[in-house]
Symmetry: C2
Subunit: 601 residues, 2 copies
C-alpha cells in the first residue's frame, strides 16, 4: 500500500513539539495516558488501511449523484466506513464521557481524522459533520434533545449536518430567510431552502439531523435574529418509529472534486409540514453555530494539508522510482538516466510540499492543543488558550487551504504529463483540495475575521499572546547554535506585524474601515507565512534537542535532520515573501476601492 | 453569449503597443494592410461564436475516449470545427504564399488562435498541431513531401501531429529509442512507441501525419543521433487511395482537463510494416523539431493566459450580477446587499486576473512580433528579433502557464461555492489549464533553458538586448509624469537581474554547473515577474499617450484608464515579489543538492 500519511510526524508533533502529555495531567483527560492514546491512533491507521484508503479512487469514479425523488446514490462502502468508524469511537471520540463520548483530547481525535482524511477525504466528512452536530446539541440543547438524537448519531445510524447556506445569501449569514413560526413547546414550523449541505442525504444512514439556522418570525434583522433548530428528516417516535418531517432533498451538486461527499440542496416545509426544535435560546443561533464552525475551520485547515501530504507522498514515491534525464554536469548520453529525485528542481518541488504539509500540520496541532487547553485547563490558562485559538483559527483555515492547493499542483508537476492523467491519484487530490479555500468561510472571509476582529480582540491581547509564544520559540532556538541565525531572522520578520498594523491603524483613526480591511487577504498571507515559520522553528528546536541528546535510531536521525533542513528551506524559499506582502500593504496607492471599479474591467 | 475574449485588447496590442503596421512595410507582409488583417480577426470571432464556443462545455462532458481496436471517439462537432477553420485559413494562415498559405504575420494568425482558444481550448489544438507539422515539412522537407501531405493538411482532411515523447524518456529526448532502419530512397522501417501524442487519432480526419523523432540504426547516442520522419497512418497512393502503414493507436489517456483533445498512445511497426520518410538530413531531427517546439511554446504560453481570460470574464460577469454581503463600513443589515464586485477582496482577485491575463497577452504578442521580424525583417533587425525571441520564449511559456493557473483558481474563488460545481464553467478552465505547465516542456525545463542557455547565448547578447528594450520603455514612460514613479521602480527592479546573475556566475567559475542551475525556476519566476512588469509599463505608455491625445470615446477612456490602473496594481501586488525571489536565490544555504536528499523525505 502506498504511503499516504506519516505516523512518525504525528508522533513527533504530539510527543515532542506540542507535548500532549501536559493534557493527561488535566482532570478532563486524566483517564488517558500516552500509550492508550497512541494505541487509539494506531487503530485509526488500521481502520483507514482496511476500510477507507482502498476505496479512495473508486468512490471518486462511482461518485455521489442525485437519483430523483429525494434520493442520493452513494457508494456502498460508505456505510461500512461510517459504521466501523462509529464503532471505534471516531464520531463520539471528542465528546464528554457524560455525553457518551471517549473524552479524547482534540489532539488525539483530530490525529485520527487526519489519518482518515489522508486515506479518503471524501468519505470522512460524514463522520466529522455528525460529530460536530452532536457536539452542538450537547453544548446548547437540553437533555431531552440529547437523548433523542445523539446516541443514534454516535452509533453512525443518523447523520448530522450543519445547514447554514442559502442560495441568495452565500457567506452572508445575516441575509438568511428560512423562517420559523412558533407552534408551542419549543417547536416551530420551518420553511426555507438550504444549499451546499454536505451529507444532507445519502444511503449510509437512516435519518438526518440538520442543525439549521433560521429566523423566528419577528426576529431582529441581521445576525442578531438568527436561531438554531434541530430539524430531523424523520421525527423519531416513542418506539423508535420514524415519521417523515417534510425535509426534501431536491438535488446533489456535482463537483470538481470530493465526489464521494454528498453536497445537497434541501427544501424544508415544501408541504408546510416541517417541524423544527429550537436549540437553546432564540436569536443566539449564530453564536452557537460558531462553536461548530470554529472547530470545523481547524479541521478544514488540517484536512487540506492532510490531502496535500497524501499528494506529496505520491509524488515522492514517483520521484524515487522514475529514471529520467541527467544532471546538468553529466554530459554523457550513454550514462544511464538518473532518478528524477536527483534533479534540483524536483527536490525544490518536493521540499516545498514538505514545508507546506508539515508546517501546516504543526500549526493545526498547535490549534488542537490550544483547543484542549481552552476546554480543560485551569481558568487562567484556559483564557490564554482561548485567545490564542481565536487568533490562530482563521490563519490555520486560510493558510493551510491556500498553500495545500499550491502543494498539490507541485505534486502533479513532479509526475510530469502522467500527473495530468486519470491513471494517477494526484489529479484527484488536486480536485478535492479546491473546495478547502471555499467552505467554512472563504479565504477572504477568514482574512476579514483575522484583521477585522482577531487582531484587535480584547485590546490586542490575542496578538500580544501570539507574539509572546513566537518569542518563546525564538529564545529556545537561540540556545542551539545551529538555529541561532534562523531565530534572529524570525525575530526580524516578526517585527513586520507591528509595522504593518501601525500603518493600517491610521485608516481606522481616519474612520476608513473599508480601506483598513481592503488588503486583509494580503495581510493573511503575510501572517500565515510568519506563523508557519514559527511552527517550523518550534519543530526544529525539538528536533535539534533530540539530535544533541542522541537518543534515537539511525532512521530517526534522518527524520530530525529532515525537519531542520526543511525549516531552512522554508525560511529561504517561503518566508522571504512576507516582506513583499508587507510592502504591498504599505504601498500608498489605493487601488481596490469601490469608487474606481467602473473603469477597471 | 458570455464574453470570453476582448477584441478591444487585441486591437490595442496590435495597433498601439506592438505596432503591427510596421510589419506591413516588410516585403513578406506587404500584401496585407490593417483593414484586411482586422477583418480576418473579426471573422475568426464569428467562427468561434458559431462553431466553437457553444460546444465548449459539451465537448468536455462528452469527452474523447478510446473505443478499442485503434479507434478514438470524438465529438461530431470537431469535424465541423476543423473543416470550417481550415476553409477560413486557420491551418495554412501563417504559411508562405508559395506553400499555399496566406502568409499572415504570426501576430494576426495567433490573434485568431487566441480567440479560438478562449472559445474552446480543447478543440483548437488539432488545427494548431496540423499547422505546426505542415510548417516543419515546408521548412525541412522536400517538394515531393510537401505535395504529398501539406495540401490535405491545409484542407483539414489530414491531421498533423508531433510525436516526440516515449514512455521511458519523458522530457529527456536524448533517451528516445524508436528505431529507423533504412530501406532505401529515404525511406525507413520504423519501430517504437510514442505516448501523449495529441490529436494522434480521432474521427474528424481521415489520415494522420506524424512528424516523428526516431533514431537511425548506428546513430550517435543522445540528441545528436535523432532524426525526423514523416510517418502517416495511411500512405497515399497515386490515385489518392490510402494504404494502412501499421500505425496503431493503442489508447487515449483520460485526463483532468482538455477532454475534447485526444491524447493518444501510438505504436509504430507492431506488424513490422511501418514505413517512415526521412525529413531533411539524418541526425538533425531535434534541431528541426525545435522550430515547431519554439512556436508551440509561444502558443502554449499565450493559450494559457487566453483560457485564464475566459475564466476572468466569467468571474467578472458573476461579480457584477451577484449581490451578497455589505461593505465593512455598512453595519445596517436592513440595507440591501451589495454586488460582490464592490468588495475590496473581490476587486483584488479580479485585478490580479486582469494583470496576469493582459500582461501575459502583451508578452505573448511581443513574442509574435519578434517572430514576424525574425522571419521577415532585414538581416540586422532579423538577428535582433531572433535573439529577443530566443530569450522570451521560455519566459512566455513558463510565466504565462504558471500564472494562468493561479488566475483561474481566483476565478473559482470569486464564484464561491458555486465555482466548485459543474454548473459553472470555471472548474473546466481550471482543469484545462493544468496541462499548460507541463506540455511543450515543463516549467522546470523552460527554466533550465532560460538560465542555462538563453542568459549566456551569444555572450549575453540576448539578455543585453532585452535590457535595452526594457530601458526604452522606461525612458518612454518617464516622458509621462503619471508614469514616472513606476518607470523608476522598474529600473530598480531590473537591476536585480545583473545582481542575481553576478551571484550565480561564481558557481560557474567554480565549475559547479549543478548549483548554478539549481534555482533556475526561482530565477524564472523573478525574470517573468520583471518582464511582465515591462509589458505593463509599455502598455501604459501607449494608454497614457491616448489619454493625453484625447482622441477617443468615453468607453475607450475607461479602457485606457483600466490599463494604467492595472499596471499600478501589478507593480504593487506582484512586482514586489521579484525581490523575494532574488533574496531566495542569493541566500548562502544550498538545500537542494543531490547529496543531501536521503535525509529529507
Amino acid at each position: 500500500m502506498a504511503r499516504y500519511v506519516s505516523l512518525e510526524h504525528i508522533k513527533f508533533l504530539l510527543q515532542e513539539v506540542h507535548a500532549v502529555h501536559d493534557l493527561f495531567q488535566l482532570d478532563k483527560f486524566s483517564h488517558l495516558n500516552w500509550e492508550q492514546a497512541w494505541m487509539i491512533i494506531e487503530s485509526a491507521k488500521q481502520l483507514a488501511d482496511r476500510d477507507m484508503h482502498p476505496f479512495f479512487r473508486e468512490m471518486d469514479v462511482h461518485n455521489v449523484h442525485y437519483e430523483g425523488k429525494g434520493g442520493v446514490k452513494t457508494h456502498p462502502q460508505l456505510k461500512t466506513i461510517i459504521q466501523n468508524g462509529a464503532a471505534q469511537g471516531w464520531i463520539s471520540g471528542s465528546a464528554k464521557l457524560i455525553h457518551g463520548g471517549l473524552q479524547l483530547p482534540m489532539m488525539i481525535f483530530n490525529s485520527g481524522h487526519h489519518i482518515f482524511s489522508s486515506a479518503n477525504n471524501g468519505a470522512i466528512g460524514y463522520m466529522s459533520l455528525t460529530a460536530g452536530a452532536a457536539a452542538l446539541i450537547n453544548s446548547f440543547g437540553n437533555e431531552e434533545q440529547h437523548n433523542l438524537f445523539v446516541p443514534n448519531m454516535y452509533d453512525g445510524k443518523w447523520q448530522g449536518t450543519m445547514a447554514l447556506t442559502e442560495p441568495q445569501a452565500g457567506s452572508s449569514l445575516s441575509d438568511i430567510t428560512t423562517t420559523a413560526t412558533p407552534i408551542g413547546d419549543g417547536y416551530y414550523k420551518i420553511k426555507g431552502q438550504k444549499i451546499f449541505i454536505s451529507g444532507g442525504q445519502h444511503e449510509a444512514c437512516e435519518n438526518f439531523v440538520h442543525l439549521t439556522l433560521a429566523r423566528i418570525e419577528g426576529a431582529p434583522a441581521g445576525t442578531k435574529g438568527i436561531s438554531l433548530f434541530i430539524i430531523p428528516k424523520f421525527w423519531p417516535g416513542k418506539n423508535g418509529e420514524l415519521t417523515y418531517n417534510d425535509v426534501f432533498c431536491a438535488g446533489d451538486f456535482q463537483k470538481l472534486g470530493q465526489r464521494a461527499y454528498a453536497t445537497t440542496h434541501l427544501v424544508f416545509g415544501d408541504q408546510d409540514n416541517c417541524k423544527g426544535w429550537l436549540v437553546g435560546e432564540p436569536h443566539k443561533g449564530l453564536a452557537y453555530m460558531f462553536q461548530m464552525m470554529n472547530e470545523a475551520r481547524i479541521s478544514v485547515g488540517m484536512g487540506a494539508v492532510t490531502i496535500a501530504q497524501a499528494a506529496y507522498y505520491a509524488a515522492l514515491e514517483y520521484a524515487q522510482e522514475r529514471p529520467q534525464g541527467r544532471l546538468p554536469s553529466e554530459k554523457d548520453p550513454l550514462k544511464p538516466p538518473t532518478l528524477i529525485i536527483h534533479h534540483a528542481d524536483v527536490q525544490r518541488m518536493l521540499l516545498t510540499q514538505k514545508a507546506i504539509v508539515e508546517g501546516g500540520l504543526a500549526l493545526s496541532m498547535e490549534c488542537n492543543r490550544q483547543f484542549d487547553l481552552a476546554h480543560g485547563a485551569n481558568d487562567n490558562e484556559k483564557q490564554e488558550a482561548w485567545l490564542l485559538l481565536e487568533i490562530l483559527t482563521p490563519i490555520v483555515k486560510a493558510w493551510c487551504s491556500e498553500q495545500a492547493n499550491r502543494s498539490a499542483a507541485l505534486a502533479i508537476q513532479v509526475f510530469g504529463g502522467y500527473g495530468y492523467t486519470m491513471d494517477f491519484p494526484v489529479q484527484q487530490f488536486y480536485r478535492d483540495l479546491k473546495i478547502y479555500t471555499l467552505y467554512e468561510g472563504t479565504t477572504g472571509i477568514q482574512s476579514l475575521d483575522l484583521l477585522g476582529r482577531k487582531m484587535s480582540m480584547e485590546k490586542g491581547k490575542a496578538l500580544a499572546l501570539l507574539v509572546t509564544k513566537i518569542n518563546e520559540s525564538i529564545k529556545q532556538a537561540r540556545s542551539h547554535e545551529e538555529l541561532r541565525d534562523h531565530a534572529n531572522l524570525l525575530e526580524e520578520e516578526g517585527k513586520r506585524i507591528t509595522q504593518v498594523l501601525n500603518h493600517l491603524r491610521t485608516f481606522i483613526e481616519e474612520g476608513d474601515v473599508d480601506r483598513y480591511l481592503s488588503d486583509a487577504t494580503v495581510f493573511m498571507e503575510m501572517m500565515g507565512n510568519i506563523v508557519v515559520a514559527w511552527q517550523w522553528l518550534k519543530q526544529s528546536v525539538h528536533a535539534q534537542a533530540q539530535l544533541k541528546a542522541k537518543h534515537f535510531e539511525h532512521q530517526q536521525r534522518e527524520f530530525y535532520e529532515g525537519i531542520i533542513h526543511t525549516m531552512k528551506f522554508y525560511f529561504r524559499y517561503e518566508l522571504t515573501h512576507a516582506e513583499a506582502c508587507a510592502k504591498t500593504i504599505m504601498h500608498p496607492d489605493y487601488l481596490i476601492n469601490l469608487k474606481q471599479n467602473e473603469v477597471l474591467f
